[in-house]
């Protein structure tokens, strides 16, 4: 809803990739206000957005899914983004809605980000098929680690010129001094790996609709924590190829998750391993056997593993792994968000900015926070089953 970012893309190296007729911009932005994004711009641009969506959809032989990429803490991505989500559900009910959401970190500088995030969460709970929560802090930590490895020179690594890892030229919000380009590159790689099996051949394909089918056991529990190995493209850094098994171990380490979460010490509902490159089914099985004892799976899904093998590795690597986990480790992120929300809401701080938007009332806030509380409660109930022994239920008895 402001022009700066879109204009930069249109002047950048990918300008020809985007169809200018499919861009919608406004001037003033949403002022970091979910209500402005959702209600004001939502109703203003509803028809235009719908028309452009229909046009894109018509070009497809077979439309399978929508990817929504946005942040939770701001106004446009959060507000207008979730408005769009609802619209997609109404207009294209059979098409999957995958949402990649950037959650605000602890020290993020948008004061109202907890309000925006929680209001958006309610929409994600109700209208998304699958959400991949990611937070900036994790991305930043990963980039810092790479920097550290590069600068220490311990592994004899050399940074290639013009790599995204160290240059922050082209980073849009330079006032933050955060390497957003490098951080965003990680998310881009996530989406590449997610779609690799649908785009390329392999011995065990996994389409996008299989992600939802295998990883979402109950409709409301559709938040998937992702981790990617290797973390950096070898086009940026020269590093000797790591052992295959190490790649699997890394995927389960806390440092490789794209969210501040520790899946190893929480409860798994399901886990998908999307492998690319010259990796065979026996390698995957060996690693699952090796890692299984240290992971806890919910009682009714003790073997909750989904595997996919894509023959084509990402550029510059011989193999890569994307792990998607439906795991109760997302709970702390949600609980923290709720706490930050309550700190503001108790004092009614900044509330008037929202309430002055037509259609917004305090009930919107209370409903949103109770939606989140219900979700947290679901995760709590699952966690409570964590160390209980697995019991086989009595089977049907048949009269012969």
């Amino acid at each position: 809803m402001e022009e700066g970012v879109v204009n930069e893309i249109l002047q950048g190296p990918l300008r020809d990739v985007f169809d200018t007729k499919q861009l919608i911009t406004d001037i003033s932005g949403s002022g970091n206000n979910w209500a402005v994004g959702h209600r004001v711009f939502g109703s203003l641009y509803q028809d235009q957005i719908l028309e452009k969506l229909r046009k894109s959809a018509e070009h497809c032989d077979c439309l399978q899914c929508f990817f929504i990429i946005h942040s939770m803490g701001g106004g446009t991505g959060s507000g207008l983004g979730t408005f769009l989500l609802k619209m997609l559900e109404d207009e294209f009910p059979e098409v999957y809605r995958f949402v990649t959401s950037i959650y605000p970190s602890g020290e993020d500088d948008v004061i109202t980000s907890p309000y925006n995030s929680i209001l958006a969460m309610k929409e994600l709970n109700e209208h998304a098929d699958c959400v991949l929560p990611i937070d900036n802090q994790s991305l930043f930590d990963i980039i810092s680690k790479i920097d550290l490895m590069v600068n220490s020179g311990k592994l004899g690594t050399t940074v290639k010129p013009k790599s995204l890892v160290t240059s922050s030229s082209g980073a849009l919000k330079t006032r933050h001094k955060k390497p957003f380009d490098a951080m965003n590159n990680i998310v881009a790689n996530l989406l590449l790996n997610l779609t690799s099996s649908a785009r390329f051949e392999g011995s065990l394909n996994m389409d996008l609709n299989e992600i939802s089918m295998n990883l979402v056991p109950f409709p409301q529990l559709h938040y998937l924590v992702s981790s990617l190995t290797p973390l950096y493209t070898l086009t940026d850094v020269n590093i000797p190829p790591r052992r295959l098994d190490q790649m699997f171990s890394d995927a389960f380490s806390k440092d490789h998750q794209l969210l501040r979460a520790d899946p190893k010490h929480s409860l798994y509902l399901a886990c998908a391993l999307m492998v690319r490159g010259n990796v065979h089914i026996s390698d995957v099985r060996r690693n699952i056997e090796r890692l299984k004892p240290s992971l806890q799976f919910v009682s009714w899904n003790q073997e909750g593993w989904k595997t996919s093998l894509c023959s084509i590795p990402p550029v510059g690597h011989s193999h890569s792994l994307l792990a998607l986990a439906n795991n109760t480790c997302v709970k702390p992120t949600f609980m923290e968000l709720k706490e930050r929300f309550m700190r503001l809401y108790k004092k009614k701080a900044h509330l008037h900015h929202y309430l002055q938007v037509e259609g917004m009332e305090e009930s919107c806030f209370t409903e949103a926070v109770s939606s989140l509380s219900a979700l947290i409660q679901e995760y709590n109930q699952l966690d409570a089953t964590k160390n209980m022994p697995v019991q086989d239920l009595p089977r049907l008895s048949i009269a012969m």
Binding site: Q64, N209, I281, S282, E303, K306, R395
Partner: protein
């Protein structure tokens, strides 16, 4: 007599390719260890069963390829064409763009009915090409969405439309862990439906074939390609021609010939692969055994061990339950080879495990919404559980 193969889903198509390739390689193999006339009769019989002839002499597999997304079929078609020795028919495939999402309900209730006419049409055309048609060989996995769901749907249709022809389903039993999370649901839905419409279920377990690759063949990094080749090898040695009872030079006309029905309802047949003839058989009761011997000394081979009544259930005489087929023509350059196809309690344990795991998951209602979304309700699950518990009980009572 000809067999029409229906390859469904990624698994079915990948395996189907390996099977046709194995059949044709063996057929062309130069070391048949028999006289020329013998070899020619063998080749002609194999050709007639599985391939039809084209003008330029390249055999075309009697197969229909079905998948709900294009990548695997395209790969399969081009691999066959590249071999130069055989290929698939140009119009023998049915393909969509969506995939079945590992969802049995989507395969069975959405894709099946939607594409019923096109798929059955393709099958009919293939059947019409056969001078003398004996039956269907349907290759599918149980764990996914297309092979399992559409496989069940198509088999049902074949039962309705071709009730006099034999339908044999090659089922791939998934690895115990790690392929598809809802594989147990998909498996029980598939099996319970196939029980009503298939004549014989030939089972291969990924875990078992994997062990063969690891322990017997010493392959270090086992890929699906390795597994599929072993499987195709086993199937090839079951399906290649053998002598009929009449005379040594006449190959058995009906390749699916044995009477698979012992008593209705139909039973599942596990294939135990390349077994030595001295298997330890104490803990297993059999309904039927078929031994196929190929190569040197087949006429003098001692199969008396298989006629022991202790092996079989009390209400069967070994003479009815045991069959042996032979041919001097060697398979795949092995001087001697043997295959054992059994209908026994061997599969009770894996079946019981799958039913147990599916039941535990069902009790928590996990993933059920994904199936009810497409019309498979909880009652359908309960029906499937009931019918499979009956199968397990029937086998246990042997």
């Amino acid at each position: 007599m000809s067999i029409v193969t229906v390859q469904l889903g990624q698994c079915g198509n990948q395996i189907g390719f390996e099977v046709f390739d194995a059949l044709l390689s063996d057929s062309h193999s130069s070391q048949g260890l028999c006289c020329k006339r013998e070899n020619e009769a063998y080749q002609a019989s194999c050709k007639e069963r599985f391939f039809s002839e084209e003008e330029n002499g390249v055999p075309i597999a009697r197969a229909v390829l079905v998948d709900m997304e294009p990548k695997v079929i395209n790969q399969t078609l081009s691999k066959a064409a590249q071999s130069g020795r055989w290929k698939y028919g140009q119009h023998a495939c049915f393909c969509q763009k969506q995939g079945s999402g590992n969802n049995w309900a989507y395969g069975y209730s959405v894709h099946g009915p939607r594409h019923e006419e096109s798929i059955m049409d393709l099958i009919r055309k293939e059947v019409e090409k056969c001078d003398s048609f004996s039956g269907f060989f349907i290759i599918m996995s149980m764990a996914g969405g297309t092979g399992s769901g559409i496989g069940a749907f198509v088999t049902q249709n074949l039962q309705d439309q071709y009730s006099n022809s034999l339908k044999m389903n090659q089922i791939i039993w998934p690895y115990g862990t790690g392929e598809v999370i809802v594989q147990n649901y998909n498996s029980i839905l598939t099996l319970s439906h196939l029980y009503r419409s298939s004549d014989a279920l030939l089972v291969h377990e990924n875990d078992a074939v994997h062990k063969i690759c690891a322990k017997l063949m010493n392959i270090k990094q086992i890929s699906f390609s390795d597994i599929n080749q072993v499987l195709a090898h086993q199937l090839g040695s079951v399906f290649q021609p053998t002598y009929s009872a009449e005379s040594s030079f006449h190959y058995r006309r009906n390749p699916l010939g044995i009477d698979w029905h012992v008593r209705p309802p139909s039973s599942g047949l596990p294939s135990l692969g390349k077994m030595s003839l001295n298997k330890d058989l104490h803990f297993n009761t059999y309904i039927a055994n078929l031994v196929i011997l190929r190569g040197k000394d087949v006429q003098s081979a001692d199969v008396e061990g298989f006629k022991d009544p202790a092996l079989y259930t009390s209400w069967l005489e070994p003479v009815n339950a045991f069959n042996v087929w032979k041919t001097q023509r060697a398979f795949s350059k092995y001087e001697k080879s043997a295959v054992l196809v059994s209908n026994s309690q061997f599969l009770v344990k894996p079946l019981d495990m799958i039913v147990g795991k599916a039941w535990n998951m069902f009790a928590s209602k996990a993933y059920i919404h994904q199936y009810t979304k497409f019309g498979i309700e909880e009652e359908d699950f309960l029906d499937s559980f009931t019918s499979l518990e009956q199968v397990v009980a029937s086998y246990c009572n042997l």
